[in-house]
């Protein structure tokens, strides 16, 4: 008797019960304001992961040595943002209550809100480390409060001042930068102060969210709102390894948009980022 076709991110073929970490796709781009397509991001990352190695020369670790379960794609309705966030929150809560580390693959950045809601319930002293080109701190965007341009602001609604640490930010309106000056920690353009921040939050529970457009648009063209002037890939990997030494309790990567990645380099970079993230945060 033959088995049905199973497709997981490379080497993430653990059974659920044995797994230390759980990856799952959140294929949503319903509030994307400019160029849609991140709904295809998680599936592309899974599918193209067979072009990368399981071994990381950066960390001298191998995906074969850690137990990760791939839960596939959440099955979202279209055009109902509230319900999507609720489904993400429920899935994340399940994984957390089973004592496993959830690692979500977006989708647009708003999906982070669902996972943060679940993580903040379990860890009331949650901190967020946020890599991104965009501040995402708007109060509302074209009248909507649930927008990918507002996601960190919504997280701030939950966590309050001094718990959100933003790195690499190089785009936003003036108001967002003012808000950051008063309510979050923001390191513009790069990761220069990441070291000290990681030392500072030490063992507090951390939600680690990586908007892949923190990378320079040359390295990562395939995204909704590409921003020149970002970091190179090695800097990102260095940052992930650094954050991996804190107490990461949940994480995500997001904003890969395959329709804008004709050469495939963005998807390949996203696959390697996920490999490095898993190797850094799963113990």
């Amino acid at each position: 008797m033959k088995e049905k076709n199973i497709e997981t991110f490379i080497a993430c073929d653990s059974d659920y019960e044995a797994a230390k970490a759980v990856i799952f796709g959140a294929p949503f781009d319903g509030t994307t304001s400019y160029r849609p397509g991140t709904r295809f991001g998680s599936k592309a990352i899974r599918s193209e992961s067979y072009g990368i190695e399981t071994y990381s020369p950066y960390q001298d670790k191998d995906l074969e040595d850690i137990a990760v379960f791939d839960g596939g794609e959440l099955d979202f309705p279209f055009g109902n943002t509230q319900r999507v966030l609720q489904m993400i929150e429920e899935y994340t809560a399940d994984v957390l209550s089973d004592g496993k580390l959830p690692v979500m693959i977006g989708g647009e950045h708003l999906v982070t809100l669902g996972a943060v809601r679940a993580a903040a319930k379990k860890y009331p002293d949650l901190n967020i480390i946020h890599f991104d080109a965009h501040a995402d701190l708007r109060q509302e965007y074209l009248g909507e409060e649930l927008s990918h341009a507002c996601v960190l602001r919504r997280c701030h609604d939950i966590l309050g001042d001094g718990r959100i640490f933003q790195f690499g930010i190089r785009s936003g309106d003036r108001e967002e930068f003012r808000f950051a000056a008063n309510h979050t920690y923001m390191n513009k353009f790069n990761l220069d102060t990441l070291d000290e921040i990681c030392d500072k939050i030490k063992d507090k529970p951390v939600y680690f969210t990586i908007d892949l457009d923190v990378l320079d648009s040359s390295v990562f063209p395939g995204t909704g709102t590409p921003e020149a002037g970002g970091m190179c890939f090695s800097e990102l990997i260095w940052g992930i390894i650094k954050v991996g030494k804190t107490n990461v309790v949940a994480a995500d990567i997001n904003e890969l948009s395959p329709p804008y990645d004709p050469s495939g380099v963005s998807t390949a970079a996203a696959c390697k980022t996920l490999r490095e993230l898993l190797l850094a945060v799963v113990r």
Copy 2:
């Protein structure tokens, strides 16, 4: 003193007051289930219209000879389908009450619902002639009743049986085809009976909606859900001219998705379709 940059569909440079017809863009793709991107459709049609001629050898008429106002793009919020439909309804109602013919450029097919609401208020005996590859007759799609896959069903909610005439349909679930058998007139695959239907509805007010994916996917690849087995361009033009002889009180074309049109042929075909539509329905 120099003028600001004005961009209209080619030759549609009438002032509003003098215009017989008003074109406007409805850049919405919020319920698109498969490949998004039609939000860029109306803008691309306007922008690329300078690659076509104003004269039609099919009708021996010229856009220069009719007065059309181009109202630009409606400015939608993201992720709020209800509000989008309301804005379309209001704009359409305005144009109708000014005694002009509204011709909307999508966007996804759901935008038709907003315009039909306005037209049905002014013309209670409204009929719809619908060219499409898809039946769009689902009661709901993944839990949502306001979806591009349900748009003609929602129109049926307003108009009731015997007022919707569908042509070219070659895709849908079994239930939609059953619904059509009982509640709409459906000519599958082609326009074979268009002649007799046009004769039949004679002078009744007609809303004419063209989902451009009624064209074969070879002629019109740049759309969310391309369907092989459709009609060729000449057949569509013939159909438009035919319908143009009925009492068309409002119309739209929709579902051009520029991100899936790398060669530009779909956009060029959409531009010519809009030219022929305007020449056929504006008197």
Copy 3:
């Protein structure tokens, strides 16, 4: 306990034992002479199948009503053509000996040889119905006898004269057309005589192989060697339904090359072709 991610062609989610038919991918393009990439064909068909419906208005049948198992992708070595063909033959033989209908998804056309070897062992009076733009009847190609340009010639080595029926052929060297005149039945350019051939071979076991480049290059650009002058999609569907009425014991579709399908229309057409093929041949 959560399930691993399972990905099948739409609605082909039967268990193996319950299945009447088995689809499987043969991701091989090792002998492709011009533009490679068909190795990604079967995976793309599975992945993009969620853009089509399960119901066919052409046949008034639904994939939900037949039991098909999707065995995923065969796991081939690179650069070892002999071993690839052997693996295909073994898989096909397994499926046949379990009393199920194998339907292979290529990959390049050479994969057909593996499946025909298995089918000819079980059915010594096997016939082949072959839809293609290319004759594929070369004795050798650049010195190699195992080439996609030779696949029907290799099938002829097994079956002999009068058992191969070719339709739609519009490309080949002079020698191939001469060979066809003497050893196969060849209907150039179209399906004009398909009806009578199907009547003639009646209940004999048929292997049905569809090289998708039999379609016009406008309908199916995403293939290694696109050929203008082919048939439209409706003609292909008609042909499939016709052949479906013979005693088809195994089948395949092949030569989708996603890297040459930037708009996705070829993949979408391939998905619909596979749906129609399954609905036509699985009872």
Copy 4:
């Protein structure tokens, strides 16, 4: 001693002296009004010709059996239209005076003017058979008389009334169609009257110019101004064979624009068109 790399259109490897026909590239797109890129057309046709066969099943003839010399690309200055036309005229005149048939590969359609000038000098009773989507009969275009939109008008300046026969025309301004009604023979949209025209001009010397956009934009997307509503490939081939039976003394194909041909189907169609043209006109 090894030979330098020689690249010719497939099988057109005759020496100049032995050749009956001479092909050469005219990589010019300097007056293209909409989307440039045809400057790369002739090179792409030569380069991609190895994807087609030398044998034509349409004519049962083979390029291997005729002697054609490939002169490569003319080496044009940029931005000097007059000089470009002069270079084409000189090259064509050379070939004609050597008793060989010139077949030019564009480039934009204006290049035809240079070759027609040479042919009209040798053959004062020259006729032109013109396949195109566009009338190309403008007196001037944005102030320029040497434009691809005016090329047949310039030819009319040389040849006068009744000597230009246009087929497939489906785009132009009203004035061009009026001019045609009085000064050329125009068969709009298709080739319906080609048979009788060929009979009529019988043995008079014919310049045969094929703007490949006469093909439907689905078959030939890769061109500057794609036009839906054109002919299919088989109809074009039929037309070429028909014209080939007249006294063709020079010919060209033009308007392939590779940058707008991401799938390569247009280039492949152009290669086959050139093969059929050579087989039809070279004796």
Copy 5:
């Protein structure tokens, strides 16, 4: 009464009279030697500007706070380089004589010549600061003196020695580098000496021309002649801010070629460059 559709670069919606600066498109690529398409550059920059923010975190300034008028696209004839340059000169002279700062958006680099002619008439002691990958100092290119490969040489004809300052140059023929050694100031590969040059020319009037291919080809692939080995985006922004502190009296950015920018990153980078340029030079 509704307004016609107006499209400006984001936030550049000042009336002409109130404006301090005027942007306008110069959609010309008639002398482009390699890959054409910059004719679409200015329009794409305007159209895609809605994907960026009006606020710059680099300069802590906002486009909303300065008054810029967008004059749209100049309407050029095709194939008449002299006339194109004259139209640019006239438009630039108008703007200058109205006491406003002209900022031109190319098009190919030759357009700079038209604007420099106007600026040099008003400011006889004009200097040019030139960011580019290419020296553009050829005396003639394939026989033409009005070519994008000669544009700075033509400017030198006007201004003479010691008034042209070139940065980032990494491509040219040997003769151009020799010419530079004797007649211009050239800082190869980067901006290392920009600081001292800006100090040196202090308050002299400066024409600032940015050929966007000064950026590395990874950051800016969408251009006619992409050159690896260039600067990153942050370096360019730093340079613009630096030059902005001199007395810039006119400026341009040029050489965006949208057909070679499938992912859109080049257009996005061009939009941000124009924002930073305006914020740096408009007071």
Copy 6:
């Protein structure tokens, strides 16, 4: 009498006898495991070389000043790896025995094995300097020992320990990195120790192989397995100039895959790399 069309890499138009160096294409991608297409690499490099200059500002040298013969493309059979390697070995041996420097253009990296076999026969004390993202040290890949993933391991079979110097490596399985630790010299990620290695091997004969994916995937997207985290173009040029000062007796560049290079920047970078390589190693 006119000449046939000859196409060479820019300025490499020496006759064979006069040439100091010989370039030739090895269009093979038969063992490519992920994305095929490098078979088109050498032809694209030749064809697009007319977009670069012959002069290098990095080295102040000009291709016009050195004598290079371009032998065109080797004419390989498909699907016969052994024969391909033999043809490469023979061609390389010919060139070497004529006292010229062979510079091969891939194709996939396995082609290096053929050339190394020839070079090692002539120079028994041969060393290899290897720039690459991938270690290529597998003993076998999916059962095959002749694979591009094994090519340096096969070279090690010939040369033994301490003769292979690898730079830029950032991908491989754990076993390959272990093998390197014991049997080759490996400088991961960059060229930091290139200086000392070049000093160390001084006048020993060197085979210099450049897998272009050593470049960051932003600079060189068009390759089979793009890897983020690589070097920038300037660093590569520096390395080439450095290695050029050793005793290079043969060289190659490989792994350009044009189908994954829609913007053309990878091909342009490959052309410049070949120019710099030739200027660095040909005396």
